[in-house]
């Protein structure tokens, strides 16, 4: 099945892409997707920061099981405000 992955900020720069589609096996968790992406995009590894996971614009835990066409974002440390 396919999921959409969006990269932002430092991860967008490291991946060299803002949005990709990724083929994963049924039952994959968001953490497993991240492992796979680190193999595809060598500059994403190693992770030197704490990442949060968001699926369909809401935070989820690492063991969240993905569904077809989910929109996944790996959230680097946020720094909004001023």
């Amino acid at each position: 099945m396919k999921v959409k992955v969006k990269f932002f900020a430092i991860l967008r720069e490291r991946a060299g892409a803002g949005e990709i589609t990724k083929e994963i096996r049924e039952g994959s968790t968001v953490a497993e997707l991240w492992e796979a992406l680190q193999r595809d995009y060598s500059k994403l590894a190693p992770v030197d920061m704490r990442l949060l996971y968001a699926v369909n614009q809401a935070y989820v835990k690492a063991d969240y099981v993905l569904k077809e066409r989910d929109e996944v974002v790996f959230v680097p440390p946020v720094s909004g405000g001023s």
Binding site: K6, F8, A9, I10, R12, M49, R50, L52, A54, Q57, A58, Y59, V60, K61, V73, V75, P76, P77, V78, S79, G80, G81, S82
Partner: protein, 143 residues
């Protein structure tokens, strides 16, 4: 009103939005770009957002503030793209019957924005650029 925008933020627009006949106080917070940070001469801050989720998270902060304090209305607008020295990156406006609720809800909103809203800033300074990153390490609300 919970938005991210590429335009300069209009303070009066937020004040008008939260103006309420039952309010005795309106508190505003304006976050601005400072010309220095940790010894670096800052040129601008370049903000990036996951806009759809950022607006949802801002609205969630507004709901949370309404549960905690007796406030009338709240508006938060965060700018994205380059924000130069003295310009506003974020403006919060809160109205309440009494000033204490308005002050506390406003303070809560800016502190929470820095923890959970998917917005990032790159500091452009003399001699380089760096993504600023701080994460609270605290569990996020609702999970």
């Amino acid at each position: 009103m919970f938005r991210v925008t590429r335009e300069a933020i209009d303070l009066q627009g937020l004040v008008d939005f939260v103006t309420d006949p039952e309010a005795g106080a309106i508190v505003t917070f304006i976050g601005t770009t400072r010309n220095n940070n940790e010894g670096r001469k800052v040129i601008a801050l370049d903000y990036e957002a996951y806009p759809e989720m950022a607006e949802k998270e801002l609205a969630r902060l507004g709901e949370e503030a309404k549960k905690r304090w007796d406030i009338r209305r709240m508006a938060i607008v965060h700018r994205i793209g380059p924000v130069r020295i003295t310009e506003s990156s974020v403006i919060i406006a809160v109205s309440a019957a009494h000033r204490a609720d308005a002050f506390e809800a406003c303070r809560f909103a800016i502190e929470e924005i820095k923890k959970s809203v998917p917005i990032w800033k790159k500091e452009l300074f003399e001699g380089g650029e760096v993504w600023i990153g701080t994460q609270s390490g605290q569990p996020l609300p609702g999970r």
